[in-house]
């Protein structure tokens, strides 16, 4: 009977669940039982087409047929219209999943398996090229692995874009003070609003992250890794722990990996709602059980990192790119992208957008292509006005900048940043003075308090913007705001205080009209 049952895929990804996937899965199972239909429900990861979630797929001889977004009231109807045979006439039918233009246009390297496999099935992972990179790495010297990463041109995907291979070389060459202890730390504190690529890696393909970290351990001689995961991601937490247990049981993690005699242990540690812990030195303090206070650099964490030992701190996406680089070679990865931005970046379309989701493409696609061709305009249907790319510490971009190609250097040239690839769209109801105020307010809430310009400057920033919005000495306060921004940029140790002014300055520069009018409460004002 099992051989004849139809496979139905219903994601267990956070967004799919947030749109009702669990209840849908239960009701589809019940309905199938009632009708005597043999189905096997597989809880896969998401394909990243979030506007279609819950997106359910039915396996047919021609491939998987997608239906979405499916609500519980559609179930009866789907069965009536034989969705289990892949009948395409249903209004929710999207056709073959892989032919959906949004999906088809992408270049999926890091997210090649996302949504296709059961995230905690080792069989699925291995059937889709999983552990190829690790098996290769087990036979290579640390230096050879590091050389391969250097050849890929991979730059840190957390936002700073530091060359990953160089960081690894530093850790490989560093001498620990405590025996031969080194560490691999994965920064999974994905706190930027508008980003969910790390979450998707962990929820859709956790073995890839495990494999990438294990390879990093082999490369630099570290036998312990930690994934520092934000506590705002309960689903990722659950899936990661399931995957780690399975990888350990199958000998891909732990002692004597695949009979190689090599060891790598991995543990997930939860953050506790502190944005600053996404900053690598603050993260290390937090892992050590302390307040997440930023450390001065140097010394670099690569030399004096976790518990004072040489430590690789990499973002989820950087580590997730490693298995492909090892399996296919650094050059294969470097063949994607442009200039010094090599490989692919998963862009994340979020906020007020019709078709939000994850789009993995080589660097160089323009922002407008993402917003219009993929995104299809705003969710509200109103004109798009401002786009914040790269998280809460990056600039708001006006329409005149939307033709900028998405690569590190081009964005830097227009005074913007790519950060972690998150794109948050606002329609014309946005009050940019209010957004500028929020940037400062967020810094008040999340500053670790070490540097005065960040700790106090942000509070003063909120006050100055309030005075501007209340039309008190507007010209003088605008000047004061600019001066304050410069002080924060120049006088802060880390990006929290040093970049909080960027969205503020960009709002002032590109949307000055919002600072010349008294605040209007109908825009959701103070």
């Amino acid at each position: 009977m099992t051989a004849l049952s139809t496979k139905v895929y219903i994601p267990r990804d956070t967004t799919a669940l947030a749109m009702g996937a669990d209840r849908l899965a239960a009701e589809i199972a019940a309905e199938a039982a009632k009708r005597g239909e043999a189905i096997e429900i597989i809880r896969n990861g998401s394909r990243g087409m979030f506007w279609l979630e819950p997106l359910i797929e039915v396996e047919t001889a021609n491939g998987r047929i997608a239906y979405g977004p499916v609500e519980t009231q559609d179930i009866d109807n789907l069965f009536e219209q034989s969705f289990l045979t892949g009948e395409t006439s249903h209004p929710l039918c999207q056709g073959l999943t892989e032919e959906i233009p949004y999906f088809k246009r992408q270049q999926r390297l890091t997210f090649a398996r996302a949504g296709i496999t059961d995230p905690v099935s080792l069989q699925d992972y291995q059937a889709h090229d999983g552990f190829k990179g690790l098996l290769k790495a087990l036979s290579l010297s640390g230096q050879t692995i590091v050389d391969e990463v250097k050849a890929s041109g991979l730059r840190g995907r957390g936002g700073a874009a530091f060359p990953t291979g160089i960081k690894w070389q530093t850790v490989l060459d560093a001498s620990p003070t405590d025996g031969d202890q080194k560490y691999i730390v994965c920064n999974a504190d994905e706190g930027d609003s508008g980003t969910f690529a790390d979450r998707m890696v962990m929820e859709a393909d956790p073995f890839m992250l495990i494999e990438g970290m294990t390879i990093a351990g082999l490369a630099v001689g570290a036998d312990q890794g930690y994934i520092y995961l934000r506590s705002e991601y309960p689903v990722a937490h659950q899936i990661l722990n399931e995957a780690i247990a399975k990888a350990e049981a199958a000998g891909f993690l732990g002692e004597d990996i695949q009979g190689s005699g090599k060891t790598f242990h991995l543990e997930v540690r939860l953050g506790a709602k502190a944005y600053i812990c996404g900053e690598e030195t603050s993260l290390l303090e937090s892992l050590e059980g302390k307040r997440g206070m930023v450390r001065a650099k140097p010394p670099l964490p690569a030399i004096v990192g976790l518990f004072g030992q040489p430590t690789i701190v990499n973002n989820v996406l950087s580590l997730a790119a490693i298995p492909y680089i090892l399996a296919e070679g650094g050059q294969a990865y470097a063949d994607y992208g442009m200039g010094r931005s090599l490989g692919t970046l998963p862009f994340q379309l979020a906020g007020n957008i019709k078709r939000g989701g994850l789009i993995e493409m080589a660097f160089g696609v323009t922002l407008r292509e993402l917003l219009e061709d993929f995104g299809g305009g705003t969710f509200s249907g109103r004109p798009m006005r401002a786009v914040q790319v790269g998280g809460p510490l990056c600039a708001y971009m006006p329409e005149s900048q939307w033709d900028t190609p998405m690569d590190y250097e081009s964005f830097q040239a227009v005074g913007a940043g790519l950060g972690h690839g998150g794109i948050v769209v606002f329609d014309d109801t946005v009050d940019m003075a209010e957004q500028a105020r929020f940037s400062m307010e967020f810094c008040v809430a999340e500053s670790c308090g070490k540097c005065t310009p960040c700790r106090i400057g942000s509070t003063r920033g909120v006050e100055v913007i309030d005075r501007i919005r209340n039309d008190e000495n507007r010209a003088a306060n605008m000047e004061l705001l600019e001066d304050l921004c410069e002080t924060m940029i120049d006088g802060s140790l880390c990006a929290m205080g040093g970049m909080t002014p960027f969205p503020v300055q960009s709002a002032v520069k590109h949307f000055p009209e919002d600072f010349n009018q008294p605040a209007i409460s109908s825009k959701g004002g103070a």
């Binding site: 979030f50 994905e190 508008g194 937090s286 059980g289 906020g351 967020f442 809430a445």
Partner: protein, 159 residues
């Protein structure tokens, strides 16, 4: 029936030998009791050979840790940019006024504690709310009221 401090001691004993044990211990206690009782600070400090001030400093640094009991359910409203672009400011205002509490407050019937959160990673289907460990997307004010009603009726069933 074990007392709260016995449960605290159990968590500390189980986790104190981990490297960097303090956050796992604090999470362990809060997962069990819903908050970190003031009495546990001295126990943690003794076990980790740190001062009570150190422990207090860490508890107060992180937004997640609380030192007073929460309501039966915790509801977190996302305040970050992607949610703002989809009306989170109106949702926040509605949550506060309909529950009659500000952030960190607990309703009079102790059914709901309202918290703020900066990003739940559900930014393509904003605005988002977290109810205990469940994340809910596209939350309108009506949907919010419905969620709260469901939580309150659950409470009645339990009672």
């Amino acid at each position: 029936m074990t007392t709260q401090l016995e449960q605290v001691t159990e968590v500390i004993t189980r986790l104190q030998n981990k490297p960097g044990a303090l956050l796992p211990i604090l999470h362990g206690i809060q997962d069990k009791l819903g908050y970190i009782p003031t009495d546990s600070v001295a126990l943690i400090a003794a076990a980790l050979n740190q001062s009570r001030a150190d422990i207090h400093g860490v508890i107060s640094f992180y937004h997640q840790f609380r030192t007073t009991p929460p309501g039966k359910h915790t509801v977190e409203v996302c305040r970050a940019e992607a949610c703002q672009s989809m009306g989170a400011r109106q949702l926040e205002a509605h949550a506060k006024s309909s529950l009659g509490v500000d952030y960190h407050g607990t309703t009079v019937d102790r059914s709901v504690t309202l918290e703020e959160v900066y990003c739940l990673g559900n930014c393509a289907c904003a605005p988002s709310v977290r109810v205990n460990d469940e994340i809910v997307g596209r939350v309108t004010t009506e949907k919010f009221d419905q969620l709260i009603d469901e939580l309150r009726s659950q409470k009645l069933e339990v009672l």
